[in-house]
């Protein structure tokens, strides 16, 4: 007993030594583990083999056959048509072939000159039965959807995304990092903060394993995007633990709600018909959130974008972003219709007006970029001019309405060192702290940026770099880049343009947030007070980030990859295979 207490005493005396040794090791170990983990995640995201799904074959009467690889396919003379028929009587965009969740097919006339015939009858929209003869610009063709059996075979032939072993290994790696970080903060932290530290890191670990188990149950094996998101959330937790330790639980709750949102959005997108219904709801909610904020919102730091509900502050404009993605996404048959585009422009103008009233410059910029992404993806030749004008008006209204607030920030941009005690205070402190941290950081709890306003949200990139090194800051940025590159790459394979637009807009929003947060912090761009996805302290932002991730998941058609995509080969036989 005596020996034990002696040993304990020795241990207590040597505390400084082992804390110092631990911190000394951790500053290299954490980046090393991160690089390893991210490399393992990025590799399948960035270099996965793009294997298209084949849903049907289109036979032309001259014997050529086309593989139909999407659920929405444009037939036309234009080179970029999915089925390109270079024949003078075929319009540039002639018709759209659409597949539905139940496996049925429809052909829609896309305002072609000569129209379409099905079994010799002119139609503008027509559900296709087997062996129906479609005539496009005088050319006859037959659609042969794949059978349930073929679909099953296809699902077996395509490479399965991810594998259980790698995913579990990644999760173990991430859990190890969470343990190491947790211990680092507890060694240097105050005892009264221990429960918060444990709950923060422990909570993320539990969430990630639960999600993984859920995926295993529904036979989904791709977990890279989620791993990257949990990785960023873990780093965010490290930032919050050092700056506002008592807020870790709040952030954890937000992560939980974020995961539920992720599920809900994913579920809504899983079925295209459901997604279209959700779209109306989301469109209304998008405006609703902004109206509520305008009516009942609180103004903090010049922007009226906070809502106080039962002791919690939420930023409804974050959730509005999510709704905007829904509103912007659209299926191909509708994309061919100009009226839809005009409606969307109108919707954007209304949103823009509300944002102007709210004086929230950062959010307005994000909406603007989202709008540009959607507009570009949607518009063919038609709307370009109108869109450009709207963009200009959008920007103009923001500029005029928010000028005094924004001008102050623009005035100090690239001049922060001339006024380090007032206007340049946040950025100079952030940059000095990044430099103080070097490439590998000062160690857990040793940062001093915590005394600066918004160190854990607007300046999260700097707080992370200060304690864990610029290497980690750069890795955090790469995480967003990897997610976005994946979204672009997978867009080619998405079943519907609804998913392409959704995924690309979600990626665009994440990128814009990362651009404004990271580059704003280091004075490459003006500081706009925008959160870094998953990393920054902020519940609404966390929820929004997970919701956006669901849109990217919905475009991920790798075999067994995504819960937001129906498994192929599961289709029930409606009629016996002949």
């Amino acid at each position: 007993m005596e020996q034990f207490s002696e040993a304990l005493q020795w241990f207590a005396q040597a505390k400084d030594t082992y804390i110092n040794v631990y911190i000394g090791i951790l500053r290299y170990l954490i980046p090393a583990l991160s690089v390893l983990l991210l490399w393992r995640c990025f590799k399948p995201l960035l270099w996965f083999k793009r294997e298209p799904e084949i849903w049907a074959w289109l036979y032309l009467n001259d014997g050529t056959k086309y593989a139909i690889t999407h659920w929405e396919n444009v037939i036309g003379r234009h080179k970029s048509s999915d089925v390109c028929i270079d024949f003078p009587t075929v319009s540039r965009n002639h018709a759209v072939l659409t597949r539905y969740d139940d496996g049925s097919w429809t052909i829609t006339d896309a305002n072609s000159k000569s129209g379409i015939l099905v079994n010799g009858k002119p139609v503008s929209i027509c559900a296709l039965e087997a062996e129906d003869v479609i005539t496009v610009g005088g050319i006859d063709m037959t659609l042969m959807p794949i059978t349930a059996r073929q679909e099953q075979l296809m699902s077996q032939l395509r490479t399965k995304a991810g594998n259980g072993f790698d995913t579990v290994a990644n999760m173990l790696l991430l859990t190890l990092m969470q343990c190491l970080l947790c211990l680092a903060f507890m060694l240097g932290g105050k005892i009264e903060h221990f429960p918060y530290i444990l709950m923060g890191f422990g909570g993320i670990a539990i969430c990630q394993w639960l999600l993984l188990i859920f995926y295993a149950l529904i036979r989904r094996s791709a977990f890279e995007l989620e791993t990257v998101a949990f990785f960023l959330s873990t780093l965010g937790m490290a930032v919050i633990t050092t700056i506002a330790p008592t807020e870790t639980v709040k952030q954890l709750i937000a992560l939980g709600i974020g995961l539920l949102t992720f599920m809900l959005v994913g579920w809504s997108l899983r079925d295209l018909e459901r997604a279209k219904k959700f779209r109306y709801l989301a469109t209304a909610m998008g405006i609703g959130f902004l109206v509520i904020t305008l009516l009942f919102g609180q103004e903090y730091h010049g922007a009226k974008n906070w809502l106080l509900i039962g002791g919690f502050t939420i930023q409804p404009s974050e959730l509005s972003k999510l709704c905007f993605v829904y509103a912007g996404a659209s299926t191909m048959d509708r994309l061919m219709n100009k009226r839809n585009l005009i409606l969307f422009i109108g919707y954007s103008v209304v949103i823009c007006g509300f944002l102007a009233l709210m004086n929230d410059f950062g959010t307005a910029l994000i909406f603007f970029v989202a709008f540009l992404v959607i507009a570009y993806l949607r518009s063919g030749s038609v709307g370009t001019i109108g869109l450009a004008c709207t963009s200009l008006g959008f920007a103009g209204v923001i500029a005029i309405k928010i000028a005094p607030h924004a001008l102050r920030r623009f005035a100090i941009w690239r001049h922060i060192w001339e006024d380090p005690y007032d206007l340049g205070f946040q950025q100079t402190r952030a940059i000095m702290c990044i430099a103080s941290g070097g490439l590998f950081g000062l160690g857990a709890g040793r940062g001093r940026l915590k005394n600066v306003f918004a160190a854990d949200s607007d300046l999260a990139f700097a707080s992370l770099s200060e304690e864990w090194g610029l290497v980690m800051g750069v890795l955090a940025v790469f995480c967003i880049v990897a997610i976005a590159v994946f979204a672009i790459r997978t867009a080619v394979l998405a079943r519907s343009s609804f998913y392409i637009i959704g995924a690309c807009t979600a990626a665009g929003i994440m990128l814009t947030q990362a651009i404004l947060n990271c580059l704003g912090t280091v004075d490459v761009l003006p500081l706009t007070g925008v959160t870094f996805p998953f990393l920054s302290n902020g519940g609404s932002s966390m929820i929004c980030a997970w919701g956006l991730l669901a849109f990217i998941k919905a475009a991920d058609t790798r075999q067994n990859a995504s819960f937001a995509v129906r498994l192929t080969g599961n289709r029930k036989e409606e009629r016996p295979d002949e």
């Binding site: 993806l377 430099a435 005394n451 976005a484 672009i488 990128l511």
Partner: protein, 457 residues
């Protein structure tokens, strides 16, 4: 679909902005981070504008300031007071750039590790100041305002530089609420940041100019009847000194003789030599730029020119600069530039060592030598060699008139010519009255203390 998915590549533009912007920042980081770290207000380095990390010790290794945990000053109250203006206060009201300048060396910053050091190792800056001499000097000044500076003109080390008034940083008095003027300019380091009307100590400058440009000046004699008139205006002496040579005029500080000497030198040459002797220029060392002096006779009438040569008119000098000028006379026409930080180390590694740099030659060796004998003569005939036992002191006193009802400032500047005590000094006692009688007793104590410290080393 192809069309829409092809358009998806537009998102690469945003990726390019993010990666490009980050790349630009990284480029800035690798080229500028060492400057950022030590920029004003850097949270890991400064406590407001002053150094906020490491330790500062005096030349004997006595702890003056420990910043490893909190801001702890020296144990002794007088030492705390006497060194406060070199270390900076807790609130950042007193700017002390000397130590802050070596923040990078103190923290051991490097691009890869930033400010990380195992166990938060602290750097140490060694000052050339001696807390012993500082203490003696501040006690000698008492509650009078002013400054005392002593430096080694061969190496450049500043052994003593006190300023008064001061306060104890551990027991900060109610300075804002005070209605008397006893705290006037308390946040100022008078040695580096103030300028004073030099009065007769400026005659050393005029004498040097005369020796440089007026042939046979040593053979000339000047008559003093107590008044030297320029029409209505006049230059006066307290008594009529009678026939004066350059040497005796300096010893007696005869204004009438100097009015005539300035006439011989002429306005152009006065301007030229004041410039050549650099007495109005800032001294730059350890991140400090001292206040600039003033010598402006462009529109001066003859009587004003005469007064300018006597250290009145609009003349202003900075104590540190004038001390360096004294060093240059002692050093035969040039001297070492003063400095206050001698070494910075981090753990075992020495990251900075001060090097002696010499001023330009500002006067010929002959002029310097003659001035030395004149100023030695001043001590022998007027100030009394007995005040400085064991030291060959050469000096010039000054009683600078401030105009109005203000009591004169007492000034005293000079040097020691002994090989083992190469010291130049300046003493300023604001409203101290007569130069030599006020300053000599103070200097006597300070130089004795300096001698003891140098002997001990």
């Amino acid at each position: 679909m192809n069309r829409v998915s092809r358009r998806a590549s537009a998102v690469f533009l945003l990726i390019a902005i993010l990666v490009g912007g980050l790349g630009f920042f990284l480029y800035e980081y690798f080229t500028l981070a060492d400057q950022w770290v030590v920029s004003a207000g850097s949270p890991h380095i400064y406590n407001s504008t002053n150094i906020g990390c490491g330790q500062v010790v005096d030349r004997s290794g006595l702890m003056l300031l420990d910043l490893t945990a909190t801001r702890v000053y020296a144990e002794n109250e007088t030492v705390r007071k006497a060194t406060l203006h070199w270390l900076g206060d807790r609130e950042g009201r007193i700017s002390a750039p000397a130590v802050s300048t070596y923040a990078k060396e103190m923290t051991g910053y490097d691009m890869v590790n930033g400010l990380y050091s195992y166990g938060n190792a602290a750097g140490q800056a060694v000052l050339t100041l001696s807390s012993e001499i500082q203490k003696t000097a501040l006690e000698a000044l008492g509650d009078r305002k002013g400054t005392i500076g002593v430096y080694n003109y061969k190496t450049g080390e500043i052994l003593c530089a006190v300023t008064s008034p001061v306060y104890d940083p551990d027991q900060v008095p109610d300075i804002e609420g005070d209605t008397t003027d006893r705290y006037e300019g308390i946040y100022l380091n008078r040695f580096t940041q103030s300028t004073y009307v030099p009065g007769s100590i400026f005659k050393a400058v005029t004498t040097a100019a005369a020796l440089e440009c007026v042939p046979d000046i040593q053979e000339m004699t000047f008559k003093c009847s107590g008044v030297y008139a320029y029409g209505k205006d006049k230059v006066t002496c307290a008594t009529a000194h009678g026939k004066q040579s350059l040497k005796t005029a300096m010893a007696n500080s005869c204004n009438c003789a100097y009015a005539q000497i300035v006439e011989k030198i002429g306005k152009e040459n006065m301007i030229r030599y004041v410039e050549q002797f650099q007495v109005m220029e800032s001294v730059k060392f350890d991140g400090i730029t001292t206040a600039q002096g003033n010598y402006d006779v462009t529109n001066a009438a003859a009587v004003q020119l005469a007064w300018s040569g006597i250290g009145q008119h609009t003349d202003l000098v900075n104590p540190c600069r004038f001390m360096t000028f004294m060093g240059a006379i002692a050093g035969g026409g040039k001297a070492a530039e003063p400095y206050v930080v001698s070494q910075v180390s981090l753990e075992e590694e020495i990251t900075y060592t001060a090097e002696t740099t010499e001023t330009l030659r500002i006067m010929s060796a002959e002029t310097a030598e003659i001035l030395q004998t004149y100023m030695r003569n001043n001590v022998q005939t007027v100030y009394g060699t007995g005040n400085f036992p064991g030291l060959t002191v050469c000096a010039k006193s000054g009683t600078s008139q401030l105009g109005g009802d203000e009591k004169d400032n007492a000034m005293f500047a000079g040097f020691v010519t002994d090989e083992q005590y190469p010291l130049a000094f300046i003493v300023v006692v604001e409203h101290g009255g007569f130069g030599s009688s006020t300053c000599v007793p103070i200097l006597s104590k300070v130089l004795a203390s300096c001698k003891a410290v140098l002997d001990a080393a």
